[in-house]
Symmetry: C2
Subunit: 222 residues, 2 copies
Protein backbone atom coordinates (compact mmCIF):
# COMPACT_ATOMS: atom_id res chain seq x y z
CA UNK A 1 0.00 0.00 0.00
CA UNK A 2 1.22 3.44 -0.87
CA UNK A 3 0.83 5.33 2.38
CA UNK A 4 1.22 8.82 0.96
CA UNK A 5 -1.60 8.02 -1.42
CA UNK A 6 -3.84 6.41 1.21
CA UNK A 7 -3.30 9.29 3.62
CA UNK A 8 -4.65 11.76 1.15
CA UNK A 9 -7.94 10.11 0.22
CA UNK A 10 -10.64 12.54 1.37
CA UNK A 11 -13.26 11.07 3.67
CA UNK A 12 -16.18 11.92 1.31
CA UNK A 13 -14.41 9.86 -1.37
CA UNK A 14 -14.02 6.98 1.06
CA UNK A 15 -17.73 7.21 1.83
CA UNK A 16 -18.66 7.07 -1.86
CA UNK A 17 -16.36 4.23 -2.94
CA UNK A 18 -18.56 1.51 -1.31
CA UNK A 19 -21.46 2.79 -3.43
CA UNK A 20 -19.49 2.20 -6.64
CA UNK A 21 -18.54 -1.22 -5.32
CA UNK A 22 -22.21 -2.11 -4.76
CA UNK A 23 -23.13 -1.02 -8.28
CA UNK A 24 -20.31 -3.16 -9.72
CA UNK A 25 -21.57 -6.17 -7.78
CA UNK A 26 -25.09 -5.63 -9.08
CA UNK A 27 -23.97 -5.18 -12.69
CA UNK A 28 -21.70 -8.22 -12.52
CA UNK A 29 -24.62 -10.31 -11.25
CA UNK A 30 -26.55 -9.07 -14.29
CA UNK A 31 -23.79 -10.34 -16.59
CA UNK A 32 -22.23 -6.96 -17.47
CA UNK A 33 -18.46 -6.73 -18.01
CA UNK A 34 -17.83 -2.98 -18.34
CA UNK A 35 -19.18 0.07 -16.52
CA UNK A 36 -18.79 3.69 -17.58
CA UNK A 37 -18.67 6.73 -15.27
CA UNK A 38 -21.97 7.75 -16.85
CA UNK A 39 -23.57 4.46 -15.82
CA UNK A 40 -22.10 4.69 -12.31
CA UNK A 41 -23.46 8.22 -12.18
CA UNK A 42 -26.93 7.12 -13.22
CA UNK A 43 -26.96 4.36 -10.59
CA UNK A 44 -25.65 6.46 -7.72
CA UNK A 45 -26.87 10.00 -8.46
CA UNK A 46 -23.30 11.27 -8.18
CA UNK A 47 -21.98 13.43 -11.03
CA UNK A 48 -19.66 11.59 -13.42
CA UNK A 49 -16.79 14.04 -12.97
CA UNK A 50 -16.86 13.39 -9.20
CA UNK A 51 -16.82 9.64 -9.82
CA UNK A 52 -13.80 9.96 -12.12
CA UNK A 53 -12.08 12.04 -9.42
CA UNK A 54 -12.92 9.51 -6.70
CA UNK A 55 -11.67 6.60 -8.80
CA UNK A 56 -8.42 8.45 -9.54
CA UNK A 57 -7.42 7.63 -5.94
CA UNK A 58 -7.59 3.89 -6.58
CA UNK A 59 -5.27 2.17 -9.00
CA UNK A 60 -7.58 1.75 -11.98
CA UNK A 61 -7.63 3.03 -15.54
CA UNK A 62 -10.81 3.25 -17.59
CA UNK A 63 -10.96 2.73 -21.35
CA UNK A 64 -12.41 5.35 -23.67
CA UNK A 65 -16.04 4.63 -24.53
CA UNK A 66 -16.41 1.34 -22.60
CA UNK A 67 -15.28 2.57 -19.19
CA UNK A 68 -13.95 0.33 -16.43
CA UNK A 69 -13.70 -3.44 -16.52
CA UNK A 70 -16.08 -4.55 -13.78
CA UNK A 71 -14.02 -7.51 -12.50
CA UNK A 72 -10.97 -5.32 -12.29
CA UNK A 73 -12.81 -2.43 -10.59
CA UNK A 74 -14.38 -4.84 -8.09
CA UNK A 75 -11.02 -6.32 -7.20
CA UNK A 76 -9.31 -2.95 -6.87
CA UNK A 77 -12.12 -1.38 -4.81
CA UNK A 78 -12.42 -4.37 -2.46
CA UNK A 79 -8.69 -4.34 -1.82
CA UNK A 80 -8.59 -0.56 -1.45
CA UNK A 81 -11.46 -0.56 1.05
CA UNK A 82 -9.78 -3.27 3.10
CA UNK A 83 -12.39 -5.93 2.45
CA UNK A 84 -10.04 -8.55 1.00
CA UNK A 85 -7.68 -8.87 3.93
CA UNK A 86 -8.96 -10.22 7.23
CA UNK A 87 -8.77 -7.81 10.19
CA UNK A 88 -9.20 -9.56 13.50
CA UNK A 89 -11.25 -7.86 16.19
CA UNK A 90 -12.45 -8.28 19.76
CA UNK A 91 -15.98 -7.36 20.72
CA UNK A 92 -16.71 -5.74 24.08
CA UNK A 93 -20.26 -6.16 25.35
CA UNK A 94 -22.07 -9.27 24.09
CA UNK A 95 -25.58 -7.97 24.86
CA UNK A 96 -28.31 -7.22 22.34
CA UNK A 97 -26.37 -5.27 19.73
CA UNK A 98 -23.07 -7.02 20.42
CA UNK A 99 -24.76 -10.42 20.15
CA UNK A 100 -26.27 -9.35 16.84
CA UNK A 101 -22.82 -8.42 15.50
CA UNK A 102 -21.43 -11.78 16.65
CA UNK A 103 -24.20 -13.44 14.63
CA UNK A 104 -23.56 -11.29 11.56
CA UNK A 105 -21.35 -13.45 9.36
CA UNK A 106 -21.62 -10.66 6.76
CA UNK A 107 -18.87 -8.74 8.54
CA UNK A 108 -16.33 -11.40 7.63
CA UNK A 109 -17.09 -10.94 3.93
CA UNK A 110 -16.09 -7.33 4.46
CA UNK A 111 -12.79 -8.16 6.12
CA UNK A 112 -13.71 -8.14 9.82
CA UNK A 113 -13.36 -11.31 11.86
CA UNK A 114 -14.45 -11.19 15.49
CA UNK A 115 -12.22 -13.70 17.25
CA UNK A 116 -13.35 -13.21 20.85
CA UNK A 117 -15.93 -11.34 22.87
CA UNK A 118 -15.73 -9.89 26.37
CA UNK A 119 -18.49 -9.32 28.86
CA UNK A 120 -18.98 -9.33 32.62
CA UNK A 121 -22.35 -11.12 32.62
CA UNK A 122 -21.82 -14.56 34.25
CA UNK A 123 -24.54 -16.00 32.03
CA UNK A 124 -22.45 -15.22 28.95
CA UNK A 125 -18.85 -15.63 30.17
CA UNK A 126 -17.45 -19.09 29.41
CA UNK A 127 -19.98 -19.72 26.67
CA UNK A 128 -19.74 -18.96 23.00
CA UNK A 129 -22.00 -17.09 20.58
CA UNK A 130 -21.94 -18.26 16.95
CA UNK A 131 -18.77 -20.15 17.78
CA UNK A 132 -17.04 -17.06 19.20
CA UNK A 133 -15.88 -17.50 22.82
CA UNK A 134 -17.03 -14.99 25.44
CA UNK A 135 -14.43 -14.17 28.10
CA UNK A 136 -14.60 -12.09 31.24
CA UNK A 137 -13.26 -8.61 30.67
CA UNK A 138 -10.62 -9.26 33.36
CA UNK A 139 -9.10 -11.87 31.02
CA UNK A 140 -8.39 -9.28 28.33
CA UNK A 141 -4.68 -9.03 29.14
CA UNK A 142 -4.20 -12.80 28.92
CA UNK A 143 -6.19 -13.19 25.69
CA UNK A 144 -4.70 -10.21 23.86
CA UNK A 145 -1.19 -11.52 24.55
CA UNK A 146 -2.16 -14.71 22.76
CA UNK A 147 -4.03 -12.89 19.95
CA UNK A 148 -2.47 -9.48 19.34
CA UNK A 149 -5.63 -7.88 17.93
CA UNK A 150 -5.74 -4.21 16.87
CA UNK A 151 -9.49 -3.58 16.54
CA UNK A 152 -12.05 -3.41 19.35
CA UNK A 153 -15.81 -3.17 18.86
CA UNK A 154 -17.50 -1.27 21.68
CA UNK A 155 -21.09 -2.37 22.37
CA UNK A 156 -21.27 -2.02 26.16
CA UNK A 157 -23.81 0.17 28.03
CA UNK A 158 -22.75 3.83 28.22
CA UNK A 159 -21.91 3.64 31.93
CA UNK A 160 -19.06 1.20 31.14
CA UNK A 161 -18.05 2.62 27.77
CA UNK A 162 -15.20 4.92 28.84
CA UNK A 163 -13.75 2.41 31.30
CA UNK A 164 -13.73 -0.38 28.71
CA UNK A 165 -12.27 1.96 26.06
CA UNK A 166 -9.47 2.84 28.48
CA UNK A 167 -8.71 -0.87 29.02
CA UNK A 168 -8.61 -1.48 25.26
CA UNK A 169 -6.08 1.30 24.81
CA UNK A 170 -3.90 0.07 27.68
CA UNK A 171 -3.70 -3.42 26.13
CA UNK A 172 -2.85 -2.27 22.63
CA UNK A 173 -6.10 -1.83 20.69
CA UNK A 174 -5.46 0.80 17.98
CA UNK A 175 -8.93 1.25 16.48
CA UNK A 176 -12.28 1.35 18.29
CA UNK A 177 -15.56 0.85 16.44
CA UNK A 178 -17.82 2.69 18.87
CA UNK A 179 -21.50 1.73 18.69
CA UNK A 180 -22.35 3.51 21.95
CA UNK A 181 -23.92 6.98 21.91
CA UNK A 182 -21.10 8.14 24.19
CA UNK A 183 -18.20 10.19 22.88
CA UNK A 184 -15.26 8.20 24.23
CA UNK A 185 -12.00 9.97 25.01
CA UNK A 186 -8.84 8.27 23.72
CA UNK A 187 -5.26 9.30 22.89
CA UNK A 188 -4.71 11.00 19.51
CA UNK A 189 -3.13 7.97 17.87
CA UNK A 190 -6.22 5.78 18.41
CA UNK A 191 -8.74 5.58 15.57
CA UNK A 192 -12.36 5.93 16.68
CA UNK A 193 -15.14 5.12 14.24
CA UNK A 194 -18.50 6.19 15.67
CA UNK A 195 -21.57 4.28 14.50
CA UNK A 196 -24.36 5.30 16.82
CA UNK A 197 -27.65 3.92 15.54
CA UNK A 198 -29.51 6.23 17.90
CA UNK A 199 -27.78 9.34 16.61
CA UNK A 200 -28.72 8.31 13.06
CA UNK A 201 -32.26 7.70 14.24
CA UNK A 202 -32.58 11.21 15.63
CA UNK A 203 -31.19 12.70 12.41
CA UNK A 204 -33.88 10.83 10.49
CA UNK A 205 -36.66 11.85 12.92
CA UNK A 206 -35.57 15.44 12.68
CA UNK A 207 -35.49 15.50 8.88
CA UNK A 208 -38.80 13.63 8.68
CA UNK A 209 -40.36 16.07 11.14
CA UNK A 210 -39.14 19.07 9.15
CA UNK A 211 -40.50 17.64 5.93
CA UNK A 212 -43.89 16.88 7.46
CA UNK A 213 -44.09 20.34 8.97
CA UNK A 214 -43.18 21.91 5.64
CA UNK A 215 -45.88 19.91 3.92
CA UNK A 216 -48.39 21.00 6.54
CA UNK A 217 -47.36 24.60 6.02
CA UNK A 218 -47.66 24.21 2.25
CA UNK A 219 -50.97 22.39 2.68
CA UNK A 220 -52.28 25.15 4.91
CA UNK A 221 -51.45 27.81 2.36
CA UNK A 222 -53.46 26.14 -0.39
Amino acid sequence: MDSTKTDKVPEPTLRRLPWYLSVCRLLKAQGETFVSSTRLSKETNIVASQIAKDLSFVDIVGRTRVGYEIDNLLEVLEAFLGFTSIHKAFLFGAGRLGGALLNDSGLKQFGLEIVAAFDSNPRLVGHSISGIPVYHISDLEKIIRRHPVKIGILTVPINNAQEVADKMVVWGIKAIWNFTPLRIRVPDDIVVQNTSLYAHLSLMFNRLGSIEENNEIKGGKK
Copy 2:
Protein backbone atom coordinates in the same frame (compact mmCIF):
# COMPACT_ATOMS: atom_id res chain seq x y z
CA MET B 1 -42.61 21.85 17.47
CA ASP B 2 -41.37 25.07 15.96
CA SER B 3 -40.62 24.11 12.37
CA THR B 4 -38.62 27.19 11.44
CA LYS B 5 -36.38 26.46 14.38
CA THR B 6 -36.09 22.72 13.66
CA ASP B 7 -35.29 23.33 10.00
CA LYS B 8 -32.31 25.42 10.86
CA VAL B 9 -30.50 23.05 13.23
CA PRO B 10 -27.20 22.25 11.50
CA GLU B 11 -26.47 18.55 11.03
CA PRO B 12 -23.20 18.68 13.04
CA THR B 13 -25.22 20.03 15.99
CA LEU B 14 -27.72 17.21 15.59
CA ARG B 15 -24.84 14.75 15.63
CA ARG B 16 -23.41 16.22 18.83
CA LEU B 17 -26.64 16.51 20.84
CA PRO B 18 -26.84 12.73 21.52
CA TRP B 19 -23.37 12.96 23.09
CA TYR B 20 -24.59 15.58 25.58
CA LEU B 21 -27.62 13.40 26.27
CA SER B 22 -25.37 10.42 27.08
CA VAL B 23 -23.29 12.52 29.46
CA CYS B 24 -26.44 13.73 31.23
CA ARG B 25 -27.61 10.14 31.65
CA LEU B 26 -24.26 9.13 33.12
CA LEU B 27 -24.12 12.09 35.50
CA LYS B 28 -27.70 11.56 36.62
CA ALA B 29 -26.90 7.90 37.38
CA GLN B 30 -24.02 9.22 39.51
CA GLY B 31 -26.45 11.40 41.47
CA GLU B 32 -25.53 14.76 39.96
CA THR B 33 -28.24 17.40 39.49
CA PHE B 34 -26.48 20.13 37.49
CA VAL B 35 -24.01 20.11 34.64
CA SER B 36 -21.99 23.05 33.33
CA SER B 37 -20.81 23.59 29.75
CA THR B 38 -17.30 23.15 31.10
CA ARG B 39 -18.17 19.72 32.47
CA LEU B 40 -19.92 18.72 29.24
CA SER B 41 -16.82 19.93 27.42
CA LYS B 42 -14.51 17.84 29.59
CA GLU B 43 -16.64 14.72 29.06
CA THR B 44 -17.06 15.09 25.29
CA ASN B 45 -13.88 16.86 24.16
CA ILE B 46 -16.00 19.52 22.46
CA VAL B 47 -15.17 23.17 23.25
CA ALA B 48 -17.58 24.80 25.72
CA SER B 49 -18.51 27.65 23.36
CA GLN B 50 -19.62 25.10 20.75
CA ILE B 51 -21.69 23.29 23.36
CA ALA B 52 -23.40 26.52 24.38
CA LYS B 53 -24.11 27.23 20.70
CA ASP B 54 -25.48 23.71 20.13
CA LEU B 55 -27.73 23.94 23.19
CA SER B 56 -29.05 27.32 22.05
CA PHE B 57 -31.07 25.38 19.44
CA VAL B 58 -32.96 23.48 22.11
CA ASP B 59 -35.28 25.18 24.53
CA ILE B 60 -33.11 25.28 27.63
CA VAL B 61 -31.57 28.00 29.76
CA GLY B 62 -28.51 27.45 31.91
CA ARG B 63 -27.91 29.17 35.23
CA THR B 64 -24.76 31.15 35.90
CA ARG B 65 -22.14 29.10 37.74
CA VAL B 66 -24.17 25.89 38.16
CA GLY B 67 -25.08 25.36 34.51
CA TYR B 68 -28.00 23.26 33.30
CA GLU B 69 -30.37 21.27 35.46
CA ILE B 70 -29.73 17.67 34.39
CA ASP B 71 -33.35 16.44 34.62
CA ASN B 72 -34.50 19.37 32.57
CA LEU B 73 -31.73 19.03 29.98
CA LEU B 74 -32.43 15.28 29.67
CA GLU B 75 -36.10 15.89 29.09
CA VAL B 76 -35.56 18.66 26.57
CA LEU B 77 -32.87 16.76 24.63
CA GLU B 78 -34.86 13.52 24.49
CA ALA B 79 -37.91 15.35 23.19
CA PHE B 80 -35.86 17.40 20.74
CA LEU B 81 -34.11 14.31 19.34
CA GLY B 82 -37.44 12.56 18.88
CA PHE B 83 -36.80 9.84 21.45
CA THR B 84 -39.89 10.51 23.60
CA SER B 85 -42.55 10.06 20.94
CA ILE B 86 -43.01 6.65 19.33
CA HIS B 87 -42.37 6.49 15.57
CA LYS B 88 -43.75 3.34 14.01
CA ALA B 89 -41.72 1.61 11.33
CA PHE B 90 -41.74 -1.35 8.96
CA LEU B 91 -38.64 -3.41 8.43
CA PHE B 92 -37.84 -4.79 4.97
CA GLY B 93 -35.58 -7.82 4.95
CA ALA B 94 -35.67 -9.98 8.08
CA GLY B 95 -32.34 -11.71 7.45
CA ARG B 96 -29.23 -11.41 9.60
CA LEU B 97 -29.06 -7.67 10.18
CA GLY B 98 -32.84 -7.18 9.94
CA GLY B 99 -33.42 -9.98 12.42
CA ALA B 100 -30.92 -8.36 14.78
CA LEU B 101 -32.81 -5.05 14.62
CA LEU B 102 -36.10 -6.86 15.30
CA ASN B 103 -34.47 -8.30 18.42
CA ASP B 104 -33.09 -4.94 19.53
CA SER B 105 -35.61 -3.66 22.03
CA GLY B 106 -33.24 -0.73 22.60
CA LEU B 107 -34.64 0.98 19.51
CA LYS B 108 -37.99 1.44 21.22
CA GLN B 109 -36.37 3.33 24.07
CA PHE B 110 -35.16 5.75 21.40
CA GLY B 111 -38.56 6.25 19.84
CA LEU B 112 -38.61 3.63 17.09
CA GLU B 113 -41.16 0.82 17.19
CA ILE B 114 -40.99 -1.80 14.44
CA VAL B 115 -44.59 -2.96 14.00
CA ALA B 116 -44.17 -5.35 11.08
CA ALA B 117 -41.46 -6.93 8.95
CA PHE B 118 -41.51 -7.94 5.29
CA ASP B 119 -39.53 -10.63 3.56
CA SER B 120 -39.91 -13.04 0.67
CA ASN B 121 -38.32 -16.05 2.39
CA PRO B 122 -41.08 -18.68 2.92
CA ARG B 123 -39.31 -19.85 6.09
CA LEU B 124 -39.86 -16.42 7.64
CA VAL B 125 -43.18 -15.25 6.17
CA GLY B 126 -46.16 -16.01 8.41
CA HIS B 127 -43.96 -16.31 11.49
CA SER B 128 -42.94 -13.66 13.95
CA ILE B 129 -39.57 -12.51 15.30
CA SER B 130 -39.53 -11.10 18.84
CA GLY B 131 -43.30 -10.82 18.59
CA ILE B 132 -43.17 -8.82 15.34
CA PRO B 133 -45.10 -10.44 12.46
CA VAL B 134 -43.26 -11.14 9.19
CA TYR B 135 -45.38 -10.66 6.06
CA HIS B 136 -44.68 -11.32 2.41
CA ILE B 137 -43.58 -8.18 0.60
CA SER B 138 -46.60 -8.56 -1.71
CA ASP B 139 -48.83 -7.85 1.31
CA LEU B 140 -47.31 -4.41 1.85
CA GLU B 141 -50.24 -2.56 0.30
CA LYS B 142 -52.77 -4.36 2.50
CA ILE B 143 -50.78 -3.93 5.72
CA ILE B 144 -49.81 -0.28 5.19
CA ARG B 145 -53.49 0.62 4.63
CA ARG B 146 -54.21 -0.81 8.06
CA HIS B 147 -51.10 0.76 9.66
CA PRO B 148 -50.19 4.01 7.90
CA VAL B 149 -46.50 3.91 8.77
CA LYS B 150 -44.04 6.58 7.58
CA ILE B 151 -40.67 4.94 8.27
CA GLY B 152 -39.14 1.97 6.44
CA ILE B 153 -35.95 0.19 7.49
CA LEU B 154 -34.10 -1.29 4.53
CA THR B 155 -32.07 -4.41 5.34
CA VAL B 156 -32.50 -6.46 2.16
CA PRO B 157 -29.63 -7.73 -0.04
CA ILE B 158 -28.36 -5.08 -2.48
CA ASN B 159 -29.91 -6.79 -5.51
CA ASN B 160 -33.40 -6.11 -4.09
CA ALA B 161 -32.68 -2.79 -2.43
CA GLN B 162 -33.79 -0.38 -5.17
CA GLU B 163 -36.90 -2.40 -6.02
CA VAL B 164 -37.99 -2.54 -2.37
CA ALA B 165 -37.24 1.16 -1.88
CA ASP B 166 -39.43 1.94 -4.92
CA LYS B 167 -42.27 -0.09 -3.38
CA MET B 168 -41.94 1.74 -0.08
CA VAL B 169 -42.22 5.10 -1.81
CA VAL B 170 -45.25 4.01 -3.85
CA TRP B 171 -47.11 2.96 -0.70
CA GLY B 172 -46.39 6.11 1.25
CA ILE B 173 -43.19 5.58 3.24
CA LYS B 174 -41.59 9.03 3.80
CA ALA B 175 -38.27 8.11 5.45
CA ILE B 176 -35.97 5.21 4.66
CA TRP B 177 -33.31 4.05 7.09
CA ASN B 178 -30.95 2.44 4.60
CA PHE B 179 -28.58 -0.18 6.04
CA THR B 180 -27.56 -1.49 2.62
CA PRO B 181 -24.29 -0.35 1.01
CA LEU B 182 -26.31 0.69 -2.05
CA ARG B 183 -27.11 4.31 -2.76
CA ILE B 184 -30.85 4.09 -3.32
CA ARG B 185 -32.55 6.59 -5.63
CA VAL B 186 -35.75 8.16 -4.32
CA PRO B 187 -37.79 11.32 -4.98
CA ASP B 188 -36.53 14.54 -3.37
CA ASP B 189 -39.20 14.61 -0.66
CA ILE B 190 -38.16 11.23 0.78
CA VAL B 191 -35.71 11.27 3.69
CA VAL B 192 -32.89 8.73 3.37
CA GLN B 193 -30.68 8.02 6.34
CA ASN B 194 -27.71 5.88 5.31
CA THR B 195 -26.17 3.64 7.96
CA SER B 196 -23.86 1.29 6.11
CA LEU B 197 -21.82 -0.70 8.60
CA TYR B 198 -19.49 -1.78 5.80
CA ALA B 199 -18.77 1.79 4.70
CA HIS B 200 -17.89 2.64 8.33
CA LEU B 201 -15.71 -0.45 8.46
CA SER B 202 -13.71 0.63 5.42
CA LEU B 203 -13.27 4.13 6.87
CA MET B 204 -11.85 2.55 10.01
CA PHE B 205 -9.56 0.15 8.09
CA ASN B 206 -8.28 3.03 6.01
CA ARG B 207 -7.51 5.25 9.00
CA LEU B 208 -5.96 2.36 10.90
CA GLY B 209 -3.81 1.53 7.87
CA SER B 210 -2.63 5.11 7.53
CA ILE B 211 -1.67 5.29 11.19
CA GLU B 212 0.23 2.01 11.06
CA GLU B 213 2.09 3.06 7.92
CA ASN B 214 2.99 6.38 9.49
CA ASN B 215 4.34 4.60 12.54
CA GLU B 216 6.37 2.28 10.33
CA ILE B 217 7.76 5.28 8.47
CA LYS B 218 8.62 7.02 11.73
CA GLY B 219 10.10 3.78 13.08
CA GLY B 220 12.19 3.35 9.93
CA LYS B 221 13.66 6.82 10.25
CA LYS B 222 14.96 6.21 13.75
